[in-house]
């Protein structure tokens, strides 16, 4: 009985992963990570950076808006296929990709508490969105 349950669960899960739309989900995460890394790089490396001069900084503004726009479109595409209860918890992987890429590019630390915290957040998001659907 329990075996069947696990099998069904696995089938359902794998049917969500093996589809062309899965690319949209992953792509959405990658775009957002690249956007965040790029923005952080830009603000910490531009010497003539002032808070109020952002509109004048065309490269940064275009990059940010570009990744935001592209991200929104790709996310919409993914949501056509995926139920929110899968899409949103999956999207919380962004936290992890940011954690790792910030470690690689900006020497930010990764602690065990960071990882545990993110896992708890992701689980919370899963419960929140799953409840919405039923």
């Amino acid at each position: 009985m329990r075996d069947d349950f696990m099998k069904d669960h696995f089938k359902k899960f794998s049917s969500l992963l093996i589809t062309p739309y899965f690319g949209f989900l992953v792509f959405s995460i990658i775009i957002q990570t690249v956007g965040a890394i790029g923005t952080k790089y830009a603000v910490s490396n531009l010497n003539d950076y002032y808070f109020l001069s952002i509109p004048g900084n065309l490269v940064l503004a275009t990059f940010m808006l570009g990744t935001m726009g592209l991200q929104a479109i790709v996310w919409q595409k993914a949501l056509i296929f995926y139920p929110l209860s899968f899409a949103y918890p999956f999207r919380s992987l962004i936290n992890f990709t940011i954690l790792i890429s910030a470690f690689i590019f900006f020497n930010e630390s990764i602690t065990i508490l960071n990882i545990v915290g993110l896992a708890v957040i992701s689980f919370g998001i899963y419960i929140l969105v799953r409840d919405d659907e039923t």
Binding site: A36, I37, T39, K40, V43, S44, Y49, F51, I54, L60, M64, L65, M68, S92, I94, N95, I98, L99, A102, F103, F106, E108, I110, L113, N114, V116, G117, L118, A119, V120, I121, S122, F123, G124, I125, I127, L128, R130, D131
Partner: protein, 112 residues
């Protein structure tokens, strides 16, 4: 200085939530015509709110670690729930309260 930073991040979280609720109001405004949804005053205000959020986020990202920024903005989920309860009259269930508790706990653990 730290107080200002906390205020900045709180503003970002609250504005993001307001933006999402505005988009929801815009997209549930009757007929399913895409153009009408996108040009609905609430939708336009939502996009404007997101523009402000993007602007403020740049300043926040400059001052704090990237990982912290992303973890803390997860609190948006909690604030959205409150707004959708008061403004959209959506129900709050036991599971949702548990979820909010978990997300908040996660953010605290992350920063501990």
């Amino acid at each position: 200085m730290i107080l200002m930073l906390i205020l900045l991040i709180l503003t970002i979280i609250i504005l993001t939530s307001i933006g999402q609720v505005l988009l929801k109001i815009g997209s549930s405004s009757a007929n399913n015509s895409l153009i009408k949804i996108f040009t609905h005053p609430a939708s336009l205000m939502g996009y404007f709110t997101f523009a402000i959020v993007a602007y403020l986020s740049i300043d926040a990202i400059k001052q704090i670690e990237l990982k912290v920024f992303f973890a803390v903005t997860s609190l948006t989920y909690c604030i959205v729930l409150f707004f959708s309860y008061f403004l959209l009259h959506e129900k709050i269930t036991k599971n949702k309260v548990l979820a909010i508790f978990l997300i908040t706990l996660g953010v605290i653990i992350f920063n501990f």
